[in-house]
C-alpha cells in the first residue's frame, strides 16, 4: 500500500520537476515582458534533439549538451530580435500570437532537419533503477531533481543579488520608469529570452532519457508547463516550482488511484479550480489596480 503510494509520488515528482523547469521559463519571460512565450516548449525540444544528434555525430555527451544549450540560447535571442523586437509597439496579445507562430516555425524546421522519428538518449549515469521501500526510482529522476534544484536556486540568486536580475525585475514592474533610470529595456528583454531558452533546453536535455525526444515533444510538455505556471501564479518563481510539482503529483495520483483516462482531465481542471478561488494563482502577486 505504502510502496504503491511512494511509486506514484516518485513518478509525480519526476515529471513535476520537468513541468516546473518549463514553468520557470514561462515565468521569466512573463516577468520581463508580460508575454506568455508559447515557443517555450520548442526550447525544450531543441535541447534534447540537438544533444541526441550531436552525440550521434560522435561529440562527447557533456560537450554535446553544452552546445545544445548554447544553440537554444542563440535561438532564444534570435526569436526576441527578429520576431518580438520588430513588433514592440504591438500589444501583448499580438506578441503572444507571434510566439505561437514562432513555435510552429521552429517545430517545422526541426522536422526538416532531424526528421520525425523518436530518438533515444542514454541515461546520464547507470540504467539500474534505485529501489526504496518497494518503489523504484529511475536514476535519471535524481538528475532531473538535482539539476532542477540548482537552477531554481541559481535563478533566485540571479534575481535578488545581481544588478542584471534586478534590472529585469524593474523592467517587468514598469518599463517606462526602468528606461528613465537608464536600463536598456530591449537588452533586458533579450536577456530574458536567452535565460529562459537556456532553462528550457536544460530541462529538455535532462528529461530526454526518460521521455525520449522528437520534434514535437515540446507541444504537450510546453502546455503542461504553462498550466503549472498559471497554477502557481504567473510571474512567481516559487509559484512555478510549486505549481509544477503539484501538477505532476496530482497527475500521477489520478492515474494510479482514480483512472488513467481522467489523468489529463484532472490536471487541466485543477487550473480551473485554483484560478476560480485564487484568480492570481497560488503565489501570484497581489495587484492593486489604480484607477
Amino acid at each position: 500500500m505504502f510502496a504503491e503510494f511512494l511509486q506514484y509520488l516518485f513518478t509525480g515528482i519526476t515529471i513535476g520537476a520537468t513541468y516546473a523547469l518549463i514553468a520557470l521559463g514561462f515565468t521569466l519571460i512573463y516577468n520581463a515582458s508580460h508575454v506568455i512565450n508559447f515557443a517555450q516548449g520548442e526550447f525544450l525540444m531543441i535541447g534534447g534533439m540537438a544533444t541526441v544528434s550531436l552525440t550521434a555525430m560522435g561529440v562527447p555527451m557533456v560537450l554535446a549538451i553544452i552546445l545544445a544549450v548554447l544553440l537554444a540560447g542563440v535561438l532564444g535571442i534570435l526569436l526576441q530580435r527578429f520576431a518580438i523586437a520588430p513588433a514592440k509597439q504591438a500589444d501583448v496579445v499580438t506578441l503572444i500570437i507571434i510566439t505561437i507562430g514562432a513555435s510552429i516555425f521552429i517545430r517545422g524546421l526541426a522536422q526538416l532537419v532531424w526528421g520525425k522519428e523518436y530518438h533515444v538518449m542514454q541515461n546520464f549515469s547507470s540504467d539500474e533503477p534505485i529501489r526504496i521501500f518497494g518503489a523504484v526510482l529511475n536514476s535519471q529522476s535524481l538528475w532531473v531533481l538535482g539539476i532542477g534544484a540548482i537552477l531554481v536556486v541559481g535563478l533566485v540568486l540571479f534575481f535578488t543579488r545581481t544588478l542584471i536580475g534586478k534590472a529585469i525585475l524593474a523592467t517587468s514592474m514598469n518599463k517606462e520608469a526602468a528606461r528613465l533610470v537608464g536600463i536598456r529595456t530591449q537588452l533586458v528583454l533579450m536577456l530574458a529570452f536567452l535565460v529562459s531558452a537556456v532553462l528550457g533546453s536544460v530541462a529538455g536535455v535532462v528529461v530526454a532519457p526518460i521521455t525520449f525526444t522528437s520534434y514535437d515533444i515540446g507541444i504537450m510538455l510546453g502546455l503542461k508547463g504553462f498550466v503549472a505556471a498559471a497554477i502557481g501564479g504567473l510571474g512567481s518563481g516559487m509559484g512555478a516550482v510549486v505549481g509544477g510539482l503539484l501538477l505532476g503529483i496530482v497527475e500521477a495520483m489520478a492515474a494510479g488511484y482514480i483512472s488513467s483516462d481522467y489523468k489529463d482531465a484532472v490536471a487541466f481542471s485543477m487550473i480551473l479550480i485554483v484560478l476560480f478561488f485564487m484568480p492570481r494563482g497560488l503565489f501570484g502577486a497581489k495587484v492593486v489596480e489604480r484607477v
Binding site: Q7, V207, T211, A255, G256
Partner: protein, 384 residues
C-alpha cells in the same frame, strides 16, 4: 506568304494525323489511381507505400505491362487529412478516370473515400487497418492489412497456448490503441480470458509507471498486453523493466518495427508481439510459401531506395499485385469484372500473408498470417 502558311499548316496536319494513328495502335495505359499520406503525421505509412507503388509499376512496365498495356500511376498526397482524401478520390474517379484505386494510408482517409467509390462503382483496395473498412462487407472495397481484431486473436491464442487466462491490459487512448482495446476485450471474452486490469495512457504521456503499478498490484494477473502506437509502447516497455515486472509481456503489431527495438533497448528483452514475416524474412522455414516473396520484396525495396523496408510498404505491394492479378483474371479493365475477379482471388501469396478473398471476406487474411515474434538479444526471433 499566305501560301507558305497554308503549306506549313498542311504539313502539321499530316504529322498530327500520323501521330493519332500511331497512338491509337499502342494500347491505352491502365490507370491505377492512388491517394496516400505521403507527408504529414502519417507519412511513415504513405511514404513507403508510394515508393513501393512507384517501383513496382515501373518494374511491371519494363516487363511488358499487364494485358500488353502499360500501367500508369496517378497519385495524390492527402497529407493525412480525410477531407483531402475525399477530394482526391473524387478527382481520381471523375477527372482522371482511373480503372482501379489502390490507396488510403489511414482508416480515416479510406472511410472518407468509401461512399464515393461505392457510388462510382470502382474497385478500391485500401491499405489501412481498421476492421470497419471491410466489416460489414462493402461491394467495391477491399483491404490488404490484417485488422487489429486478428492481432488480438493472435496474441490471446499465444497466451492461451502458454496457459495464461488472466491478463492486464494497458492501451493508448489514440485511435489505434482504443480500437485495439475494444477488440481485445471482445476477443478475450469469447476465448474465456479474463481482463483483470484495464488502464490507458495518452499519446503524449512520458511516464506510465503509475498505470503499470496499478496492474502489478492487481491480484492474479498472469501476463500484460500493451496495445498502442508510436513512442508510448516504448516508454511502457522501459517502465515495465524499471519496475522489475517479470510477467510475460506482449505488445501489438503497432510497434513491430526495428525503430521500436532501438527506442526500447534492453528493456524489450523477452517481450512478444504479432508481426508481419517481413521482420524475419530469413528465419522463415524453407517450406513457407511466403519466404521468397518476402525476401524478394525486402531486397528489391532496400536496393532501390537505400532505406529500411517497412511493413506498411508491403500493404501497398500486396494491394498493387492483387489489382494486377484481378485485371489479368478479368482480361480487361471492366470494373465489374475486375471487382468479381478480386473477390475470387484464392491463395495469392503476398508479403503480408496468403490472401483468400470471398464475397463475405474482402480482406482475405486470417490471424495466422501474423507471426509471433520474441525479442531475444536485441533481435526479433520467430516463435511460431
Amino acid at each position: 506568304m499566305l501560301k507558305t502558311i497554308l503549306r506549313r499548316t498542311g504539313k502539321f496536319a499530316a504529322i498530327a494525323a500520323a501521330g493519332l494513328v500511331m497512338s491509337a495502335q499502342a494500347a491505352e495505359p491502365i490507370k491505377i489511381g492512388s491517394f496516400l499520406s505521403v507527408t504529414g503525421p502519417a507519412s511513415f505509412l504513405g511514404d513507403p507505400e508510394l515508393k513501393t507503388l512507384e517501383m513496382y509499376v515501373e518494374k511491371i512496365n519494363e516487363e511488358g505491362g499487364v494485358l500488353g498495356r502499360q500501367l500508369e500511376l496517378i497519385h495524390y498526397d492527402d497529407v493525412g487529412n480525410a477531407s483531402n482524401a475525399r477530394n482526391f478520390a473524387s478527382r481520381l474517379i471523375r477527372s482522371d478516370r482511373v480503372d482501379i484505386i489502390v490507396g488510403g494510408s489511414t482508416t480515416g482517409a479510406t472511410m472518407a473515400a468509401v461512399p464515393l467509390v461505392e457510388q462510382a462503382k470502382i474497385p478500391f483496395i485500401s491499405l489501412a487497418g481498421a476492421v470497419v473498412i471491410t466489416t460489414p462487407v462493402k461491394e467495391w472495397v477491399f483491404k490488404t492489412p490484417q485488422s487489429d481484431r486478428m492481432a488480438a486473436e493472435r496474441i490471446l491464442t499465444d497466451m492461451k497456448d502458454r496457459g495464461i487466462t488472466k491478463i492486464g491490459l494497458i492501451s493508448g487512448t489514440g485511435g489505434f490503441g482504443s480500437s485495439g482495446r475494444t477488440q481485445t476485450l471482445e476477443v478475450a471474452e469469447k476465448m474465456g480470458i479474463e481482463v483483470l486490469a484495464d488502464v490507458t495512457y495518452s499519446g503524449s504521456d512520458t511516464d506510465m509507471t503509475a498505470q503499470l503499478t496499478n496492474i502489478r498490484n492487481t491480484d492474479g494477473v498472469e501476463a500484460v498486453l500493451n496495445f498502442g502506437f508510436g513512442q508510448g509502447p516504448a516508454i511502457v516497455t522501459r517502465n515495465y523493466d524499471q519496475l522489475g515486472m517479470e510477467l510475460p509481456f506482449y505488445q501489438s503489431h503497432g510497434v513491430a518495427s526495428d525503430s521500436f527495438l532501438e527506442l526500447a533497448g534492453d528493456s524489450a528483452e523477452g517481450l512478444r508481439l504479432p508481426a508481419s514475416p517481413l521482420l524475419v524474412p530469413d528465419s522463415l522455414p524453407d517450406d513457407d510459401p511466403q519466404k521468397k516473396v518476402v525476401q524478394d520484396y525486402k531486397a528489391e525495396y532496400e536496393a532501390r531506395w537505400d532505406s529500411k523496408v517497412s511493413t506498411f510498404g508491403a500493404y501497398a505491394y500486396d494491394g498493387l499485385m492483387l489489382a494486377v492479378q484481378a485485371i489479368e483474371a478479368a482480361g480487361s479493365t471492366d470494373k465489374e469484372a475486375v471487382r468479381e475477379a478480386l473477390e475470387n482471388i484464392q491463395g495469392y501469396v503476398g508479403v503480408t500473408g496468403v490472401f483468400n478473398m470471398s464475397p463475405e471476406d474482402h480482406n482475405g487474411l486470417d490471424a495466422d498470417s501474423f507471426r509471433i515474434l520474441e525479442v531475444q538479444n536485441g533481435e526479433w526471433k520467430l516463435i511460431n
